[in-house]
């Protein structure tokens, strides 16, 4: 109903008296002297007492009201419709693969948080390398591109597609090459997608080039066997291993798989059976593999070939010219040859050289040793390193000649890792359209026309075939986070296909791999792989003209031989440099030098002294027309007159963590006989200035202390207790404290010093599992790295048959080439009489009834007394608030990257102590699982993160109250001793003596 009623407030309004009309103009009945107050005079007037009190009252009231506001509540919103497979708090595991290794990805609430080996996988199935464990962080890397780019500007995918297709069409029409430059691609789906593109554009070709080239082996095998492949090596069958500069436990071919097999002949189980392999290493720089050798001879890079010639002569009794003249090497070769021959069929020689001739000679030797078919498998060959230096040369030539119309770079970064970056740049400049599939604008991608960023393997569908017959699947564990697209998908789109990548991978598998196996795609997703290879390779015989090969080797060696020789090597941590933005890896110390966040020039201490260099010195290295000023590491074991420099550093366009860390050493490389060679004649001069490397260990010898106990294999065979020197065998101990019963579980660990190679993947696994912050180079320099688990590396220097471990004696030694090394993983020993526990004033660290030393972060107020009183120095203090301090922003100070954190483990605030918890969250999860299944916890239900990452099985964890557990059995081993047992802290981690299978034995 329409109403026009008007209510009046009083008779005045009704009558509209003049006074009312006047008053009604203002808002208030009386004028408010706002103007008066706000003008200058008003402000300067004295505030009356009452006004002051009013203002005070109002202020107080207002503040009180404001303070009544409750702390904002951040709500965790539950799923409206819960995905069937996700239960908050319970991890999900997905079978996938990384670099061809079958792995399990652990996800929590839909985000991947860690990666472990697939225990049922083929090949490497117990442990992973550090790169694999750390790879989960790359998913959360903020330095990656979030959109496709053309000319450095973000564009839509449709725009990119149109541009690319136009370029492809143009090139095809002009008859110009369309080249896909990639690193080794063994993925059937990727190859199929490339084939699709080739089908559409007939001028398309695909070349593979690896930053670290193994072309030499491929070429040699092609010449000698007619098979252009790299064989698989089964070191599990090798009783005698001679390696000439091959870091076969680290970066050479499939180091981690080699480790797994190699250690099976050296660990406590093998020793228990009275068996141990012998490993002889000839090399210039002290590699991780060399540090594990029983006998190690330091040679110059130019001597590698000569050593192999001598070895060949000794084995066959021939006298091919060009043998080594190095007396130490000659002696070792004589002994080694005798053993190699004696153990025919169980002995092998490997060489790290990328030279065709050297590898041919090695093939000849291994043929003599009967290693083909037993150790070396040419049937189930490796497909991990198919790069061809020659193919890349051809590409560069063609491009420079303007014959290439389009080039795509897939996992290939030649501007950074090819030794002549200028050549690559010149070639790229001549190509009409260039595009990279890099996930970030790295060195090469940033110089190209367009970038089609790809997601990480954790967001992708795909597959791999690291070995003939072995197919592993890559399945995504999260939706692509950024606006990225898999390279395969892009190639399909550009080839005019509309298939989705999932369908494409599935079709590829159904059509080629699964055919005839009786297995379905679903089976593959569950298991993660399919193996169609044979059990053992067949025997082969190399067809080598040894004399011709040897004279070529001698001729080439002369080019390298010099007063000083440079050896470039692939670092076991940083590899070829592609993981350079991974902060976990940057802070993982080098297994031998313990240097983090840098590469350096490794020099023999004596050689450095001759050059006038000491600690923190800098050196200028010149070779092949390139020079670098590098910080120096005084490296015992380094051959005199040699300098070793790691590749994989000096990235400039990789991201916040990795940019400008170290120096790029690739330009030192050169091309000889068509393959990239990593050794060169060099000059080394002292450079001005000093540079302090961030090392996690700066004292390198045991000072004659019994913390490391080592024996020889011969002594061990006579007495398994040899040198284990257990204090408790000869001394009675007394207890100050009451003995507490530990009726349930008693968690203990056994560490086999003979198995540990020092690789450090356990350290990264521990970091990932326990949210351990990366602190950066400066803080490591201040000796504040946070690693809960470290690997102590000690040298023993041998001079004239005497072994020296004391600082003062070593100062007088002249020969630093003969060095033996031991790696000792060191972590909280969970002492029964923990010195840390008695001194904590607030009981923040206490003992559990399961034998663990707990740390209650909330109770800790940071006196650091516990850390001081820890004889093992394994406690780590949060000096700063690493999680939220821009000074330590290596990677984690953003909400996205923080998603990598393991939700089961709290992050620690500034001012509290932390240390190894024995992955208490895993123990708890294992117990809960057993409880839910209404059964007892079984041995092996709970695995420590470090243990799971160890491919050498050097770390054994379990319940000491279960006499049948693996750890109980291991700890009953005669070799077991406890570090610092004599101070009666009663550690719960037993170590097994280091056994060396030396010649003297």
């Amino acid at each position: 109903m329409d109403s026009n009623k008007k209510y009046w407030k009083g008779l005045e309004e009704l009558n509209q008296t003049p006074a009312f009309v006047e008053n009604n103009k203002g808002e208030f009945a009386e004028p408010i002297p706002v103007e008066d107050v706000l003008n200058e005079a008003g402000l300067s007037t004295r505030t009356p007492r009452r006004d002051f009190l009013k203002a005070l009252g109002f202020g107080l009231g207002a503040v009180t009201l404001a303070a009544c506001n409750r702390t904002p509540v951040h709500k965790a919103v539950p799923y409206v419709i819960k995905p069937e497979e996700i239960t908050p708090g319970i991890p999900n595991y997905y079978a996938s693969s990384f670099n061809g290794q079958s792995i399990l990805v652990r996800t929590r609430e839909g985000r991947p948080i860690s990666v472990e080996a697939n225990p049922n996988g083929v090949g490497l199935n117990q442990g992973t390398d550090a790169n694999t464990v750390a790879s989960v962080l790359d998913l959360y890397d903020m330095s990656k591109l979030q959109n496709p780019q053309i000319g450095g500007k973000d564009v839509e995918w449709s725009k990119l597609d149109a541009t690319v297709i136009a370029a492809l069409t143009k090139a095809a029409a002009a008859g110009k090459q369309i080249t896909i430059v990639s690193n080794t691609v063994n993925s059937p789906s990727t190859l199929a997608s490339i084939a699709k593109l080739s089908a559409k554009y007939p001028t398309a070709n695909h070349i593979q080039v690896d930053a670290i080239s193994y072309s030499g082996i491929v070429e040699a095998n092609k010449n000698n066997f007619g098979k252009a492949v790299i064989p698989s090596y089964n070191f599990g069958n090798a009783q005698i291993v001679v390696s000439v500069a091959a870091d076969f436990l680290g970066s050479w071919l499939a180091g981690e798989e080699h480790t797994q097999d190699y250690i099976k002949n050296r660990d406590y189980k093998s020793l228990k059976n009275g068996k141990m392999s012998r490993h002889i290493q000839f090399e210039s720089g002290l590699s991780m593999t060399g540090s594990n050798a029983d006998v190690r001879i330091a040679i110059k890079p130019s001597e590698e070939g000569a050593v192999l010639i001598s070895l060949y002569n000794e084995i066959t009794g021939q006298s091919v010219a060009g043998g080594t003249t190095n007396a130490k090497a000659q002696t070792a070769i004589k002994l080694a040859a005798k053993e190699l021959v004696a153990a025919k069929g169980k002995s092998i020689v490997v060489a790290g050289s990328n030279d065709v001739n050297v590898q041919s000679l090695v093939n000849a030797i291994n043929t003599q040793l009967g290693a083909y078919g037993t150790i070396i498998d040419l049937d189930n060959y490796s497909k991990q390193h198919q790069g061809s230096d020659a193919a890349f040369q051809q590409f560069l030539t063609a491009a420079k000649a303007g014959q290439v119309g389009v080039a795509f770079f897939l996992n290939s970064n030649p501007v950074y890792d090819y030794f002549k970056a200028e050549d690559v740049k010149a070639a790229i400049a001549k190509i009409d359209f260039t595009l990279s599939f890099a996930d970030r604008a790295e060195e090469t991608a940033s110089t190209l026309n367009a970038i089609a960023p790809v997601p990480t393997y954790l967001e992708s569908w795909g597959d791999a075939s690291s070995k003939e017959g072995l197919y592993t699947v890559v399945q995504p564990t999260i939706n692509p986070v950024f606006n990225t697209r898999q390279a395969e998908q892009s190639l399909l789109v550009w080839a005019g296909e509309t298939t989705s990548i999932y369908d494409f991978v599935k079709q590829t598998w159904d059509a080629t791999i699964l055919a005839g196996t009786g297995k379905s795609w679903k089976d593959v997703l569950q298991v993660g792989y399919i193996y169609k290879g044979t059990n053992q390779g067949s025997s082969y015989s190399a067809n080598v003209d040894v004399n011709a090969v040897s004279s070529a080797i001698v001729a080439d060696a002369k080019k390298v031989a010099g007063e000083v020789e440079l050896k470039l090597y692939e670092s076991t941590v940083m590899r070829d440099g592609r993981y350079a933005n991974n902060a976990y890896l940057q802070e993982l110390p080098d297994p031998v030098s313990k240097v983090t966040w840098d590469n350096y020039a490794a020099l023999n201490p004596k050689f450095a002294e001759q050059l006038g260099l000491g600690e923190n010195g800098k050196v200028k290295v010149e070779a092949n027309g390139y020079s670098l000023e590098l910080p120096v590491v005084l490296q015992p074991g380094q051959a005199m007159g040699t300098v070793s420099v790691a590749l994989g550093y000096g990235r400039t366009h990789v991201g916040k963590a990795g940019n400008n860390v170290g120096y790029n050493a690739y330009p030192f490389a050169t091309l000889v006989n068509g393959t990239v060679q990593l050794a060169a004649k060099a000059t080394v001069t002292k450079a001005s200035g000093t540079y302090e490397l961030a090392q996690t260990q700066t004292h390198h010898t045991i000072e004659g202390r019994n913390i490391i106990r080592e024996t020889t294999f011969a002594k061990y065979l006579k007495d398994p207790n040899s040198e284990s020197g257990r204090f408790s065998d000869t001394h009675k101990t007394y207890d100050l404290w009451n003995k507490f019963e530990q009726p349930g579980h008693k968690w203990v660990m056994a560490i086999d010093l003979n198995a540990c190679t020092g690789c450090g993947s356990c350290i990264v696994a521990c970091n990932v599992e326990n949210n351990i912050p990366v602190v950066g180079r400066d803080e490591v320099r201040r000796r504040r790295e946070m690693h809960w688990l470290r690997i102590d590396r000690y040298y023993t220097i041998e001079d004239n048959g005497t072994k020296y471990t004391k600082e003062k004696e070593i100062a007088h030694i002249d020969d630093f080439e003969n060095v033996t090394v031991v790696h000792q993983p060191m972590l909280c020993q969970h002492c029964e009489h923990a010195p840390c526990e008695t001194v904590c004033p607030v009981l923040a660290t206490v003992h559990s009834s399961e034998g663990l030393n707990h740390m209650a972060y909330n109770r800790c107020f940071g006196t650091r007394y516990c850390a001081n009183n820890c004889p093992y120095k394994v406690r780590r203090f949060n000096w700063f608030n690493y999680w939220n301090d821009s000074r330590f922003d290596n990677y984690l100070n953003n909400e996205f990257t923080q998603l990598v954190l393991n939700p089961d483990v709290t992050t620690r605030s500034r001012g509290v102590m932390e240390k190894c918890s024995m992955c208490i969250q895993r123990i708890q999860a294992g117990k809960l699982q057993a409880k839910m299944e209404n059964r007892k916890l079984k041995d092996g239900d709970v695995k420590m993160a470090c243990q799971a990452a160890c491919s050498a099985n050097a770390i054994i964890f379990g319940d000491a109250n279960d006499p049948e557990s693996e750890v109980s059995k291991a700890l009953r081993n005669e070799r077991v001793y406890y570090v610092l047992e004599e101070i009666n802290v009663q550690p719960n981690i037993g170590y097994m003596t280091k056994v060396r299978n030396t010649f003297e034995a």
């Binding site: 260990q697 700066t698 004292h699 390198h700 010898t701 045991i702 000072e703 004659g704 202390r705 913390i707 803080e779 201040r782 000796r783 504040r784 790295e785 470290r790 102590d792 590396r793 000690y794 000792q824 060191m826 010195p835 008695t838 001194v839 904590c840 004033p841 607030v842 009981l843 109770r859 800790c860 107020f861 940071g862 006196t863 650091r864 007394y865 850390a867 001081n868 009183n869 004889p871 093992y872 120095k873 406690r875 780590r876 203090f877 949060n878 000096w879 700063f880 608030n881 605030s909 500034r910 001012g911 509290v912 102590m913 570090v979 610092l980 101070i983 802290v985």
Partner: protein, 493 residues
């Protein structure tokens, strides 16, 4: 105190002519009742600047974290605990002087006990700041006390020497403060009686209504004795317990049974050195030469010499035991002190603490004011190094060589230490400005028994045989506050 005449063989504890009770009060209250002089202002401004440095350094540490210091995974304590032990040690002289010497009726303490006790209190305050500042989360410092709480009734760990420490230091501070304040009551009353206006009101409150009756004095004496009795064990206990922070650990170089007596001796040693440092300046600037005489200076030098020798024996014993133990870790710890990367600190300690006090065997040196002052500073430096050597050189190379590391201080470490000295002097100078620096009432006791003027009177009256007087005259030659004329007056009239 004594109605009979003191032997003439005893050196006078107070010099000067024509001193009356009134003049004692006037002399001592001069700085309290007048505007401070230039020297005081200069000292105060410098000290306050130091204190500001302390505020900045500690503030920076609280803001950023302990990482501001030079500590690392191996060396978890360095300058912080070195400074803490240094200050606690310095505090010891005050209690020793006020309590132990009182019980032994050493009257010479009467002139120096007030400043020494004040020094104790301020030193303990400085030490206590480190207890809080060195914590990773200092806002939770109160957790060190077994307070009833709602954190699931968490309790402290009575096995931990740090808990004992908290009790020891807080007890020590409380008792020292009470003792000091009780002794101040009659003197505050004197200030009150001479003051006017607001000043009078304030001092009235502070004097707790002291009325100077015989009963008050009697109770005063009894309370002093009782507190002395309570304090005496504290002289031994506090540094014993501080030493247990180290002695009960497993770290070679720390795990040493000799630590309790060694630390106590060292504490008295450094405490007396600090008293000497302060009083030598004080007597000059405040014109207290007649009250703090050469006798006092020499007596304290002797104590420094004796305790310095005890400390020296302790150092040598440590070395012997390290060798005799046959424990390689123990042997290495000491070999490393002598010849390791921190050998310079060890030899600085040895020179300052063991060799320099031996100079006091020479009378000329122990009665020389400039040399005494310099040596007192040297001893304080040496005692700082002693704690540094014990803490840092033991930690930086302990059991596993892989963790061996060096410690390098940052500006914050230095700032907190220098700042704490500033804080100490700020408090001490304020004390001199507002409270009598010498115990007036106690000094007055000496006037009619141990003062030179009284002894002169007795000599003139012929109370002593001449050979004894001759001895007395000779003993006066070292006194800088006694003139030739006064010595000559020591003859029978």
């Amino acid at each position: 105190m004594s109605s009979h005449n003191e032997s003439i063989l005893r050196e006078p504890l107070m010099t000067g002519k024509g001193i009356t009770y009134a003049q004692v009060t006037d002399d001592i209250l001069l700085p309290v009742e007048n505007k401070p002089n230039k020297a005081w202002w200069i000292g105060f401004i410098v000290a306050v600047c130091g204190a500001m440095l302390w505020v900045i350094s500690v503030g920076y540490t609280f803001w950023t974290g302990i990482g501001a210091w030079g500590l690392n995974k191996t060396v978890g304590w360095a300058w912080d605990i070195t400074d803490f032990v240094w200050w606690v040690g310095i505090g010891h002289a005050g209690t020793l002087i006020s309590a132990v010497l009182l019980i032994f009726r050493q009257n010479w303490r009467n002139s120096i006990n007030r400043s020494a006790e004040a020094m104790t209190i301020f030193a303990v305050i400085c030490a206590a700041t480190y207890v809080v500042a060195h914590m990773g989360r200092p806002w939770l410092a109160y957790w060190i006390f077994p307070l009833p709480n709602q954190f699931g009734s968490l309790w402290v760990n009575f096995n931990s020497p740090l808990v004992w420490d908290a009790f020891a230091i807080s007890t020590y501070f409380t008792v020292s403060l009470v003792f000091w304040y009780c002794g101040l009551l009659p003197d505050i009353a004197s200030v009150r009686d001479r003051a006017h206006g607001l000043r009078k009101k304030i001092y009235s409150v502070l004097s707790f209504g002291w009325n100077g009756s015989v009963k008050s004095w009697q109770r005063f004496e009894i309370v002093s004795l009782i507190l002395a009795g309570i304090s005496t064990p504290l002289v031994l206990s506090v540094h014993t317990i501080v030493s247990m922070d180290f002695a009960t650990s497993v770290i070679p170089g720390w795990h040493t049974t000799i630590f309790p007596p060694y630390f106590v001796a060292g504490a008295i040693f450094s405490g007396f050195a600090m008293v000497q440092t302060l009083l030598l300046i004080l007597r000059k600037v405040m014109n207290f030469e007649h009250y703090i005489t050469m006798f006092h200076i020499e007596a304290m030098n002797k104590i420094i010499m004796v305790t310095g020798s005890i400390v020296g024996v302790a150092y040598l014993t440590e070395l012997f035991i390290a060798w005799y133990s046959g424990s390689e870790y123990e042997m290495y710890a000491f070999a490393n002190r002598i010849a390791g990367p921190y050998a310079w600190a060890y030899w600085a300690m040895m020179t300052c603490n063991v060799i320099s006090p031996q100079l006091f065997w020479f009378k000329k040196i122990r009665t020389s004011i400039p040399i005494s002052w310099i040596l007192s500073i040297i001893v304080n430096i040496g005692m700082w190094f002693e704690r540094f050597v014990i803490i840092v050189t033991s930690l930086h190379r302990d059991y596993l060589p892989s963790s061996w590391a060096m410690f390098y201080p940052t500006w914050v470490d230095v700032g907190i230490f220098v700042g704490s000295i500033g804080l100490f002097f700020t408090l001490f100078l304020l004390f001199l400005r507002f409270l009598p620096g010498i115990a007036i009432a106690e000094v007055k006791l000496l006037l009619k028994s141990s003062s030179l003027q009284h002894k002169t009177k007795l000599v003139q009256e012929g109370a002593f045989p001449e050979d004894q007087v001759e001895f007395f005259r000779n003993s006066l030659e070292k006194y800088d506050s006694v003139t030739e004329e006064e010595i000559n007056a020591l003859r029978k009239k």
